[in-house]
């Protein structure tokens, strides 16, 4: 018998398994299912290591930083081509952002949303998540259209927020989709929204939560701690915090000036292309270690680095 006995936690709960795709001809991807904190294999199973999603926009993302635009090149022009390239570069799933539906970025309607979603769904066989512009009424409008279009393919639809969860949740029930529930960096708010969504009848294995990502240097520590708390709560048996977690790492990370700009920043920040990539990678890894089940990334090199880290964490 060894002298040093490592204390093991006897967790009574585990994270819900949620499957995206896997029906309607779409490839399935199951996330969640952890019975321990991330990668503590000496204590419990992590049946599905975290998945890596690549973000695709229905606009050509002209405001994106240079390293991103260079990496994606012509694919930016078409969400279908973009998704296809993302699949080739190793994405486990595709996240389509309907940016053009935002009232200030085109205010496009359900038809355009359907067109973009159709392109992505046709281009790849991977599971797909479609996110609206995060303007509640607008989200309802465009996501309903996409929901009907993809009925039965079990895509993810986001976001359900406190103001509009009823409509999206109802549509997920009707068309067998998964709802993404987003709340602003707070354990209680996240749990409350999960309860409200469950109360309207959407089953807990069709909910993924987005606790709101803060990038490195921009609130990362808040997201990190809220996710640790959510995960700990799930492991001690709280079913209303036991949903898998989804983090928009790329979007948040590349929005910051450290990632966006090569010029006009202090020289002590070093080279832009190296710094910006590491910025996205550190944000992703921190949140993976805090319990993220899906990280949504932007740069192909980050995808490689994060996938390698996940492999090495699991190994």
């Amino acid at each position: 018998m060894p002298k040093v006995e490592v204390p093991l936690e006897k967790w009574s709960g585990k994270v819900r398994e949620v499957t995206l795709g896997g029906s309607g001809g779409r490839k399935g991807l199951t996330v969640g299912g952890e019975a321990t904190l991330p990668f503590l294999s000496f204590e419990g199973a992590m049946p599905h290591p975290p998945s890596v999603a690549i973000e695709v926009s229905d606009t050509p993302a002209s405001e994106w930083a240079a390293p991103l635009r260079q990496a994606w090149g012509d694919a930016l022009e078409d969400p279908g081509a973009w998704a296809k390239k993302a699949a080739e570069l190793g994405a486990d799933l595709i996240v389509l952002r309907l940016n053009s539906a935002h009232p200030e970025q085109g205010n496009t309607g359900p038809e355009q949303a359907k067109a973009a979603a159709e392109k992505v769904l046709a281009a790849v066989n991977l599971p797909v998540v479609v996110l609206g512009p995060e303007v509640p009424e607008k989200d309802n409008e465009v996501l309903m259209a996409v929901s009907d279009l993809a009925a039965g393919q079990r895509i993810g639809l986001g976001y359900c927020m406190e103001k509009n969860y009823r409509t999206i949740a109802a549509s997920c029930i009707a068309n067998n989709h998964v709802a993404l529930a987003k709340t602003p960096i707070d354990l209680n708010l996240a749990k409350q929204l999960n309860i409200l969504i469950s109360d309207v009848g959407l089953s807990a294995d069709s909910i993924i939560m987005d606790p709101t990502t803060g990038a490195l240097g921009y609130g990362l520590e808040y997201t990190y701690s809220v996710m640790e708390r959510l995960r700990l709560a799930a492991l001690v048996g709280d079913k209303m915090t036991a949903m898998p977690m989804f983090c928009t790492v790329g979007e948040e990370s590349w929005r910051q000036k450290e990632s966006k700009f090569a010029e006009g920043v202090p020289p002590t920040w070093g080279q832009h292309d190296r710094r910006s990539l590491v910025w996205e990678q550190i944000t992703a890894l921190a949140l993976i270690n805090a319990g993220a089940d899906i990280v949504v990334l932007r740069h192909p090199k980050t995808v490689d680095a994060v996938k390698a880290a996940i492999r090495k964490l699991a190994g």
């Binding site: 354990l187 209680n188 109360d199």
Partner: protein, 644 residues
Amino acid sequence: MSSQKPLHQVVFAPEGRTVRVPHDTLLVDAAAQAGLFIDIPCGGQGRCGRCQVKVEEGLTTHGESPYLSRQQMAEGWVLSCVCRVASDLKVTVPPKRERERAVTTASRKAAAPPLDWPVSPGIHRFSVELSPPSLEDPTTDLERLTVALTRRGGFSSLEVPLPIVQQLPVTLRRGDWRVNAVVEQGPTPERARLLALHPGHEPCPLWGLAVDIGTTNVVAFLVDLESGKILGQASSLNRQVARGEDVISRIIYSLKGDGLAVLQRLVMETITSLIAELTAPRPADSAHIHSVVVAANTTMSHLFLGITPRHIREEPYVPVTNRYPVVRAGELGLPLNPNAAIYTIPSIAAYVGGDITSGALTSGIYKTPALTLFMDVGTNGEIVLGNADWLMTDACSAGPAFEGAGIRCGMRAIPGAIEDITISSKTLEPTIRTIGDEPPQGICGSGMISALSEMLITGVISRSGRLNVDSMGQRMGERSRVRRGDHGPEYVFVWAQDSGTGKDISFSEVDIDNLIRAKGAIYAGIEVMLKSAGITHDMIEQVLIGGAFGQHINIEDAIQIGLLPDLPWERFKYLGNTSLSGAYNVLLSREARAKAEEVAGKMTYLELIADNSFMNEFTAALFLPHTEIDKFPSVKVLLEQGSQ
């Protein structure tokens, strides 16, 4: 199967109507068969207590209810909407009025203040007769009096105020060397002070005044210091209200120009008017008031004494003092015996004042071995936790919602205020009760709690307090009480034609949010304190509720919305206006005064602003009844039943 159930005979008194019904029939259904229609406003869920009947003989099942006291249950009272027939029965159905009153008295048990110490106010009256001076005995008037009184009272020294000395030759001679002297015992029994001197041996009463200066209301007792009897009670709006509704506004007002002096004058005017009311019709009698005890929150205490409250508001929230000097009525210009001592009960911290010290004294929390939670619910929720061994306190700002402010149809608890609401879970139609049975004008704190609880249990609102206008609207049809109003989604309690104001009385989502925030702040204050002390809910042996508003809260409703912790209802007890009760005790007993000081010194104040866990607990409490439903097992059961 049901046809095989045995039949029982049920006789309903006083009419003597008789029916035969199968075993397990609800009493309310049996009564209906007998032609007696008992209202069940809650839709028959045992939630409103309006359908009480008394089982005189025979067996029933499922009759227990938190709406009935133990004694009522022992007497045979049951709720007919949940109670089932289990044998032949004799049942008395009281008339509707009486059923209503039963509910009212059960939920409004205001107690007269108990006196926990023997009467020893430290104010004595001595009738003495002096020998007149002569050439053989040329002692001065004052020395003559002093010697007689010190001998009589056993003091070693007697302080005599100058105005009494100035009047002395006249007083002594007018009474033919017989006087009644009112003497105040000093901090040590040997030292004393002469408060008043009356010629002759005519009766002169010894009165005292106990005052509770609330931010909104000022209440006073006129007390006979010899018998301890309360001679009168008066209350009035604090005249400072015109210069700001809450303590923060008052503090800000006090900082401008002569604001402090104005506020002090206004509270003096308020107390003066109370004294006039209490001594009517002979205002001159106020000179018989020889002692005053004031209980007030820290800001009110400061303003009363003309001390700036400025630093109460600013970090690090330090008042000028928690212990207040004793002043004489003459210094403050109150129309009493100018020598009367005014004692202000010590505070604990910026937001936990002498009213709470006073409340803790009344509640007995400082001497019980039982782990006790004492709360005073008002604009601020103050909480004291502990027992004879230790005491901890904190305060959270609930805001004025429960007092009717910030709620569109909110009002104070005066006649015409809706104080209780029941919503039928079948039709979603409300049944209301107003104070004084007058036409509804608005809704007061207890009504709001009742409304929120009913809306939650019947599914009118979600657990986050949102109204589902579409589905509820569909369900209620054309004249839906759930609708989109001018202030967003709302639920209408009273249609314009039935209201005393000629307008609809309703609750909007914004009103609901404000209420949820108020209850969340108080509950979070409780949780943070329990956590800092390492106490779990089940360890709390009793919850004592003080404050003028506290006594009107229905505990079931308050638990259902998550204002009070979900503990067995026997553990809750209302104490009424504990601040005034404490002041009354301190007025009548020097021992109680010493105890108040000891208790104030013993309380450990927990600063919630310095505690980030408060925000977390607060957010968790901004849900109905709470994000952690397992903290409210009884509500969980109700909600699950509701959703089925």
